[in-house]
Symmetry: C2
Subunit: 316 residues, 2 copies
Amino acid sequence: MGRQIDIDRLASQIIAGSRGALARGITLAESTRPRDALLSDELLQKLPAKPNSIRVGISGVPGAGKSTFIETLGMYLVERGHRVAVLAIDPSSERSGGSVLGDKTRMQRLSIDERAYVRPSPTRGTLGGVSARTFEAIRVCEGAGYDIVLVETVGVGQSETVVADLVDVTMALFVAGAGDSLQGIKRGILEVIDLLVINKADSVGEERALQAAAEYRGALRLMRGQAIPVMAMSGLTGSGVAEVWQTTLERHGSASVAEVRALQRTRHFERALVEELSALARETEKHAEMTTSVTAGTLSPRAAARALRDQLVAST
Amino acid sequence: MGRQIDIDRLASQIIAGSRGALARGITLAESTRPRDALLSDELLQKLPAKPNSIRVGISGVPGAGKSTFIETLGMYLVERGHRVAVLAIDPSSERSGGSVLGDKTRMQRLSIDERAYVRPSPTRGTLGGVSARTFEAIRVCEGAGYDIVLVETVGVGQSETVVADLVDVTMALFVAGAGDSLQGIKRGILEVIDLLVINKADSVGEERALQAAAEYRGALRLMRGQAIPVMAMSGLTGSGVAEVWQTTLERHGSASVAEVRALQRTRHFERALVEELSALARETEKHAEMTTSVTAGTLSPRAAARALRDQLVAST
C-alpha cells in the first residue's frame, strides 16, 4: 500500500459490495507492515460485526480434493441463498516452501459466481502471524456481507491445527481408499476436528467408502473419547454434500460461538504479542552480538535470552 | 532447590561420578526457576565440554517399543565400553496431558547398570522451554562422563520434531505390521529423521518386516528426495541392533557435528528469547487489562499486542 488510503471510503465500498475494495481490505488485514496493521484496525472498526456468521475450516493434504470439495459445497450454499467467501492459509510455508496453488481457476464456477468471493492466494507466514492476520481477513469478508466463510488450509506441515483457532467448525478431508501414510495423517488435526469427511467416495464405490468411514469413526472415538461425525461424500458428483452441511450446522449449533470466538481472540493476542516482542528483539544490535556468542558457544542460549530481555526493557 | 547450592562442589561431584550429584545437576538444568537457570549456567561453565559425544534422538508413538529398544541398544553400547545416559522429554504434555511413563523400572537392566544413567521422568513443558532446558541437561550428562546420550521423546503431539534440535542423529521407531493410522505417523518427524527403525520385526516374521522396510524406504525417498536408511530390528531379541548402531555412527560421521550444534544453540536462543519476553509481558498489569478488552471484542488482538509491547519497552 504505497499511497494514502481513505479508510472511510474503503469501508463504504466494501459494505456496498465492491469486490475490488474487499480485496484491498483483505490485503490490508493480511499485510505484515506495521502501518497497514493500524489501518486494518481502523477498517474493522468501521465494518459491521456479524456474530451470526458461520466460519468453517477445511483441512487435508494436497490431493485430498479440497478445491473440488469447496467448489461443490460453495455452489450448494450460494444456491440456497448464502453468500460465501473462501480464504486460504498456508501456515507451513516457512518450512515446506509453500503450496503450489493460489490459482483462482482451481474453483472455476465458484470464483466467477457473484454470490461468492474466492481469495486467490493463500496467506503465508509464521504460525502466529498467519492466524492473527487471517482472523482479521475473515472479519473483512463478513463486513462485506458474506455470511459463510470457508478457510482452507493448504500446504503440509505441523501447524494445521492453527485453523481451529480461526473458525467455528473444523473439518478434515481424507481420501477414500488411499493409504494413510500417503495422506500424511497428523494426530494434531484429528484432535481438533469437529467432522471428518471421506472424500472421493465415488472412486472406490459406496461400500468401501462406508466401510472406511466406519473404521475412522472407531479410531476417532478411541482417540477423542467421544463420537466425532465421519461422512463419506464425493466432491466431484456432489453426492453427500447436503449431509456434510447439515452436520456442520449441527456442530455449529452445539457450541457457544460467541464464547469460542472470545477465546480465539485471546489466543491471537498471545501469539501476536510473542511476534511483536520477537521482532523488537531481533532489531537490536545486541541480538546480533548475542547470536555470535551463542553460535561460538561462549554464552549459553538461555543466558543470552535473559541478557537480551533485560537490555531490551532497560534501553528506552 | 530450597537451599544454597555450592556449584563448585556439585561440579566436582558430578565429574567424580556421583549419580546423586548428576541427578541434582539435571534437575537444575531442567528447572523453570530463574534462579536455577543462573546456577545451571554456572554449573555448565565448570563441567568439561565433550565435542566428541554422540547425541541420538529416539521418537515413536507409545507402543512402538521405545523403552525395550533403548534398553537393548543401551546394553549393547555399555558392553562395548561406552557410558550411556538416557533422558526423556515430553514436549506434548501441555496439550495431551503427558505420558504415562516416567518409571525407572521400564528399563530394568540398563537403569541399574553402573555404566548407564537413566533419568526417571521426562522433562515437560512448553516447546521452547523443554528444548532449551534439555539441551543443558545433555551437557550435564556429558560433563559427568557419558559419551553417548539417548534422548527419548515420549507422549504424542505436534512437537516431536523438537528432538531434532537437541541431538546429532534422529531416529523414529515404527512398529512392524501395525496400521499407519494407529501409529499416529506425523509427516513432521519423517521430515527430520536420519534413520527409520521398524521395530518388533520378530512379531511379524522377517519377510514381512523386510517388506515393510522396503515400502517405507520408497515413501521416504519420495518425501525427502534422498535415501534415508530404513532398518528392521527387534528390541526384544536384539536382532539388528548392531546394524542400527552402525548406521547411526555413519549418519553421525556424515555431518559436521560442531556446525549442527552451533546452529542448534542459536535456535534455542531464539526460542528462549520468545519465552523470556512472553513471561515478562504476562507479568504486567496491562496484560490482564488487555486480555479483558480483547476477550470482550473492544480491542483487536494485534492492536492489543502492539500496545502492550510499547508499554513494556517504555516502562522502565
